[in-house]
Amino acid sequence: MHKILEPIITFLFKIAAAIVFLALVGVIYAMVSEGFPGLREIGVWNFLSGTKWQPTNHVYGILPMIFASLGVTFGAILLGVPTGLLVAIFINEILARRFRVYLIGLINLMAAIPSVVYGFWGVAVIVPYIARIQLPGNSMLAAILVVSLMILPTMISLTLNGLRSVSADEKAASLALGESRMLTVWRVCIPRIRVTLQAAVILAFGRAIGEATAVVLVAGNHVQIPRSVFSSVRTLTANTVMEMGYATGLHRQALMATGLVLFIFIILVNILLSMLMHVKKEK
């Protein structure tokens, strides 16, 4: 029996691995094959530094959208990462054991809510609230708030796993020296999970810069370099989602090139953070 099953199962594993690899190659090929000709026609510099996006006049500049994407992403990370860390510490160190299961269940549920629902919630609750402070309400701030909420579940569960991996012995040593529980977390646990936190930031970055659906609904979608967090902005992904359906020719190629830019951003962030980790390890 084993003699027959073994090669079949091995073959299945190989096929599965090959599918993943081919899909990745396929995606990159599509972006490059359509994006490159577009870039060549528009000019890489014009494309990246142009401040106007007017498909009807064949003017394609994505600088405002780069600003919007980076603004929303960094804003969301700035809000979401520390909040996630604090919630994880709360669950692991403060919350009574019998309630943990429920809160973790709720957080997992948060991860399962479709992004369009977060968008609805942003439109219904966040946007009107911001509009009371400053019009129009549909703004970069709204996008930051919605996206930071969306990266929370991942942040919390990753940090929680990290905190759980810190040995009870080490915490006991700190407590036995007279340190308080919260300062034990700060002085012993957080330094221990630095690598986990960095991985969490990479994931949060990917999720935040890639989110389109919820952002389209709340960000306002004006192509402009944001003056403040109250400005209406259009992100790179939002732009693609809004226009891909009807884009043809050079317009379509420009959108593909946008995908290429996003792809490069994420690769750069990965390299940057893994370099940072490497430097820390060598120390």
Binding site: R97, S167, D169, E170, A172, A173, S174, L175, A176, L177, G178, E179, S180, L183, R187, V188, P191, R192
Partner: protein, 249 residues
């Protein structure tokens, strides 16, 4: 410094009574060894002395446990209690930081910030733990790079750095080789001139070698306590004699 006195001390984990009516005096500047089979309550009692049992849910305590002017059961100043009563664990558990920062951790907890004072405490503590000569040129190396025996001595140095009156040790050598064990026993004999030491051990020879007094626990009860020589040569209770001659446990 003062004796530690337990009177009618009971401890329950939920419905299970882990310690029954313990009455004993732990004399200052002496090394008392707790012996007894696994699960007899000796570690539980040890951990009551610096309230590490607080970490476990559903623990209930009755009776009294007093050290001089300090009511150990009632105090709400855990930090003060634990500064006076330090603890070394079974498995070496240094922090994953430098040797220096390990030893300076406790003093920093209690508010010491001046570099010179910290330097002095670190040197003094490492000397007491017989580690200074080995490590003085590598104070900024990670503590995790040390051998098991060195790590355990570092943990002792870390506890000494807050200048406690009492040092509790929970089977401190059970994870170590004989040479490291001998070094730790040697240093315990030295520091007991300035500290009250309470040690849980499974090793009868170790108790005989280094302790002044021995307390024998069985099923949550203190069966017998006395001078080490007396316990090992003329135990008063049959259960004690059965245990130390290896008839059970």
């Amino acid at each position: 410094m003062a004796d530690i006195v337990a009177t009618n001390f009971n401890l329950f984990y939920g419905d299970f009574q882990a310690l029954k009516d313990i009455n004993m005096t732990l004399k200052e500047r002496q090394l008392t060894a707790f012996i007894g089979p696994s699960g007899c309550g000796k570690s539980t009692f040890l951990r009551s002395i610096n309230r590490m049992n607080d970490l476990i849910e559903n623990v209930k305590i009755t009776g009294s446990l007093i050290m001089g002017d300090l009511n150990i059961i009632e105090t709400n100043k855990l930090s003060v209690l634990r500064k006076r009563v330090g603890m070394v664990f079974q498995k070496p558990n240094p922090f994953s930081m430098s040797i220096y920062n390990n030893v300076a951790y406790g003093p920093r907890t209690h508010g010491i910030r001046q570099r010179a004072v910290l330097d002095e405490l670190v040197e003094k503590s490492l000397r007491s733990a017989a580690l200074w000569d080995e490590l003085k040129d590598n104070l900024h190396k990670s503590a995790l790079s040390l051998s098991g025996g060195q790590q355990q001595r570092l943990c002792i140095a870390r506890s000494l750095a807050v200048e406690p009156d009492v040092l509790l040790l929970d089977e401190p050598t059970s994870a170590l080789d004989p040479v490291s064990t001998a070094k730790i026993e040697e240093l315990l004999e030295e520091i007991k001139t300035e500290h009250t030491i309470v040690m849980v051990t499974h090793n009868m020879q170790q108790a005989a070698r280094i302790s002044d007094r021995v307390a024998f626990f069985l099923s949550g009860e203190l069966i017998e306590m006395g001078d080490t020589y007396q316990i090992f040569s003329q135990p008063q209770k049959e259960k004690t004699s059965d245990y130390i001659t290896g008839r059970f446990g």
